[in-house]
Subunit: 318 residues, 2 copies
Amino acid sequence: MPEPSVPATAAPPLGCLAIVGLGLIGSSIARGARRYGLAERIVAIDADATVRERVRDLGLADHVTDDAAEGGAQADLVILCVPVGAIGPVVAEMAPRLRAGAVVSDVGSVKASVVAAVGPHLPASVAFVPGHPVAGTEYSGPDAGFSTLFSGRWCILTPPEGTDEAAVERVRALWQGLGAVVETMTPEHHDLVLAITSHVPHLIAYNIVGTAADLEAVTESEVMKFSAGGFRDFTRIASSDPTMWRDIFLTNREAVLEMLGRFNEDLSALTRAIRWGDGEALHRLFTRTRAIRRGIVAQGQETAEVDFGRGRAGGGEP
Amino acid sequence: MPEPSVPATAAPPLGCLAIVGLGLIGSSIARGARRYGLAERIVAIDADATVRERVRDLGLADHVTDDAAEGGAQADLVILCVPVGAIGPVVAEMAPRLRAGAVVSDVGSVKASVVAAVGPHLPASVAFVPGHPVAGTEYSGPDAGFSTLFSGRWCILTPPEGTDEAAVERVRALWQGLGAVVETMTPEHHDLVLAITSHVPHLIAYNIVGTAADLEAVTESEVMKFSAGGFRDFTRIASSDPTMWRDIFLTNREAVLEMLGRFNEDLSALTRAIRWGDGEALHRLFTRTRAIRRGIVAQGQETAEVDFGRGRAGGGEP
């Protein structure tokens, strides 16, 4: 992959950027902000001593602390990169000492519940601009991050109506500086879109990997050996961070249940087609789904390489 | 990926290898057989004139024909690489002119129904050794093949009891020559194992991509844009060859329905956990599934690279 193109932003770099939670996403923001000169100063806040030590060793921030209130007090922009369920309590802790005119944002995969959890804590002088970069890998922790994680990926902002435009601009500039493409929508629509493009796929992947592990007629060793037939792709998704995903399902319940209902209806029809030997119905669906794949590849959200480029040794020969 | 290690086989190379169906798998066998010197002569049989022309242009075979009976009459080993539903008719056409002592094999993803379809047609002087290389990509056709497709992958043989050991050995030698690791089991067990490691994962992927395409509240363009959250992995699987997959579900019906039943039971329990906010049950499952992933990576059936190595630009920096 070529070096990502980082659009020049008209905005001057931030003064102080505080990042709460230095996992995959938080540490990638820190790396990118430093690499592309997006902030004059970076403060890293994490409750986990091991993480703080790694952040210091990796040189990801100018100041590292476990004190959210103290760290946040210096910030022009605070980005919350903790699991969705932890966002409310962290904001409650920081709120009293935030500077007037500071902006708070987050990277949670669910937005309506985050808006509800944050709103009551913030003073009127601090704007909240919820965000969600649609990017990630199956790895977790400060060592898993990298500065180009967001390059060419979408970042969705869901500012409540009436949010100060300058505050939205400050958050937008950060994401554009990291190479992301920014789009705005309502929190509710975000949660519906992500339920089908991310949450339900993860749930299904977790589910089938669990089903396979529980079989008596097929051993776990056989499941692993013969996984190249399709199963192994599900295991990648099903190895994502458990706490983060637990919180997503607990906080985006309605949209996930709605999409799961649709999924189940369709699966029942497909099961019926198999039981009754309706080859035409199967072939029709299997043909239709190819078009979506082509669209995703065309939009640059996916590589067209065989098998994602994995496992193909020495191609190009006749 | 390094050059695959191809184990030295004690067996002398085959005389004539006939391949029926020069798609992804058939053309990969032809390429590998030539590259590693596994047959003195390769005959390519395909009913599709466009495919035959590509096979001639690519120089994949010594003789190219649409006449299965004529092509098969020369062979010491015939490998059927057509969709499972086409195997019976092709064998019926070839059978009368096969040489005594010839061996027939296939690469179908379903085995019990293939054994039932082939058995009645073959004379006693011709052995049938069913096979299934657990390897593939989302692409189809003679241009999609490559000689190392089977390197380090498993190939399952399901010879009926009493099959001539020399015949099994001839097929085993070909696959080992192509770099595969060979395992034998009964056709019925094969079908159960593949139902969970391949068939149901494909069905679920096809299903969710179909569900996403049918939503009214979320546009197709949004699904494509924000697919990096997990959905896009499903679209890769759901872009596999429709005819091949229709035949798999029609011929491995019982095992697929059994495994789908298990999947659905587990999904109901998971849905219930979401509805009732049972975070502990969710976290427990999401933690358990990580172990399976680690096993697959450890067994060399998967890369440990982030996101399969896709999309990570310029890693390694702090």
